[in-house]
Subunit: 374 residues, 2 copies
């Protein structure tokens, strides 16, 4: 299902064939936590900003509106009116970062909802059932994401449990994909490599994962507090032990520079809230670096956010107008900024794919990083 | 510049020719207070929801970003990237409803900004200069809007001052329209009829206004606390004394029923925050009456807000999805609801014009009101 089109060093240009269409990689997935991208961006807007994959959060949708509701509404694609690929995370990361009073046991995690304090249990089987109800294109295995500061002994035990959970995930997904009332019977499963910043644990785990027939392999537990250098080092050490003929996904990463470094180290899939979150705060990405539209110098600026940009904001509106909207707390300001930032990320991925196709990714990366540093 | 195409009783089907294009009347103007319609609706969205005229608020734009800023940016049309007609109010109504510590004198009104408490003075000349800086298609005269509960003696004196202010507005606008650096040298001026609920004061004022050559005539000071019956009565008494060969504008009105009653009494122009404000709260207009999407019964409702509606929300999204967005406080929910409500209003105005053109407005009105009452 994954086709490796071209390689430059470890960087991969590939495509993943799914039941909802082909994903050209490297790809940046656009995060729509609660079945919508924050900033009043609708599924129909995604077509104009080059989005290939939408990413929704299992934990949020399980809590509200409930995965059973979405199943009854025909699955996430029909619910949000988006027919291209959707990836759902496992819910694990939110359980560990949002929920309170959590208790991790062999069977799974007991915790309280961050919305109403309701007691919830989630284990591998529950995560698979929820994701099957959502009927996403790609489901993520339920894992524990230990802190980058965790002790070696804790990380070792946690990773072993994550492997046992992955076996249970796979068994449950196989069962669900054959069940009669399953909406997407071709749901894919990606496993997740963990191990904090202990490269030997990461490598050992990668080797074990590689022997399990999975649709893709994620590197999780990075960009959670460690330095960029530590993250790049872990990628360099670990990715070579993951199957090159399957997609590699670096979870929750990152800045444009992080993505360029990740691609160089063999990553196919990325996702991050930065472009939408920064957009809502008036922080905008350009090829000459980030700009903060709240800065007074943009008050009378008639230029678009970035000259030559083809996004819906730049095609029609000026920096001065968008700055005014942000200052007046008009939602439209946030919408335009989020559209621009996602377009910037998605366009960069397109450029990366083109550069890889032409065999000049290294030169492209150097030039892009230099431009953004000015 | 105003062409009366057809009449049915007092109801008028007309068109107003402006420097920014022709306005077909009766028309509902879509309120974008701070140069944007609340709910993340952009000027490019207005083309898809049948908006003819955008209305912005002079007071808000004077306070932020400042009318001088907008003038430097080329005027309101260029600023918000909308090339069709824009009407600006005079700022008077906001001065009386929002600002604190106001003091009304013959020369104008002294008050404090509701944003930073800064002391501001606004009189007829200031209002005209601000509106000339904004370069709207239609400017409104600076008036006082007395409370519907005000004493007769106060109202009488206030209306006389409003007339004197109108003379000053007209002189200042004539001067500005001939000034070299004025952006829109063909800016139109509408005068405003006042008189609270005293029909004889209203009539006397209407007669005086009629003798002044203005581009249009508004009825102000209604829908500010009096009953619907009082409002309809004042319209019946007053509109016949305003020139039928000029557009009539009922300010700040109202519900779909109010608009139908207003059209019947000879009104061409309407504006109101209801469709956008109600939309942001999940209250939606349909031909079968209003619905509240927060109601639990819509949780699994796969139908659009209204079957057969051609708005951007109904063409793609379900009640169940939009309800989820509203409950999850996703801005997209508000955006879709505002788009629907404005489309509903603008479509009703289109139906009204068609009915007037075919000479069956009375039948249309009856049927529409019955449908919405179910």
């Amino acid at each position: 299902m994954y086709k490796l089109i071209k390689q430059e060093g470890r960087a991969k240009r590939g495509e993943l064939h799914t039941v909802h269409g082909v994903i050209q990689t490297p790809v940046f997935m656009n995060v729509g936590t609660a079945a919508a991208i924050k900033g009043a961006v609708a599924s129909e807007d995604l077509e104009g900003i080059k989005t290939q994959v939408e990413l929704s959060n299992t934990y949020h949708l399980h809590v509200r509106p409930g995965d059973e509701v979405i199943k009854k509404m025909g699955g996430l694609h029909k619910f949000m009116a988006w027919d291209k690929p959707i990836l759902t995370d496992s819910g694990g990361f939110q359980v560990f970062s949002l929920a309170s009073l959590r208790k991790i046991k062999e069977e799974g995690v007991y915790f309280q909802s961050h919305i109403d304090g309701r007691k919830i249990f989630m284990g591998p089987e529950e995560s698979m059932r929820i994701q099957s109800n959502l009927a996403s294109t790609i489901a993520m295995a339920f894992d524990e994401c230990p802190s980058s500061k965790a002790e070696r002994e804790y990380v070792q035990a946690s990773v072993e449990r994550t492997t046992r959970w992955l076996e249970r995930c796979r068994a449950e997904m196989n069962r669900l994909n054959e069940a009669e009332d399953t909406i997407n019977k071709k749901q894919m499963l990606f496993g997740i490599n963990q191990g904090a910043i202990f490269s030997d644990i990461r490598i050992e785990h990668a080797k074990i994962l590689s022997q399990m027939e999975l649709d893709g392999y994620a590197v999780g537990g990075l960009a959670v507090g460690e330095s960029h250098e530590e993250m790049y080092y872990i990628l360099e050490e670990t990715v070579p032990y993951l199957p090159a003929d399957k997609p590699t996904y670096l979870m929750g990463v990152g800045t444009p520079a992080n993505i360029l470094e990740g691609v160089e180290r063999g990553v196919d899939f990325f996702d991050c809230v930065y472009p939408s979150r920064n957009g809502r705060h008036g922080h905008l990405y350009t090829n000459q670096g980030k700009i903060n539209l709240f800065n007074a110098k943009y008050e009378l600026d008639e230029r678009p956010i970035e000259e030559g940009c083809g996004c819906p904001a730049c095609r029609r509106y000026s920096r001065g107008y968008i700055r005014h909207l942000l200052k007046a707390k008009e939602m439209l300001g946030m919408r335009l900024c989020v559209l621009h930032n996602l377009y910037f990320y998605n366009t960069m991925m397109e450029e990366i794919r083109d550069a890889l196709g032409e065999g000049n990714f290294a030169a492209y990366k150097k030039k892009k990083l230099e431009g953004m540093a000015t």
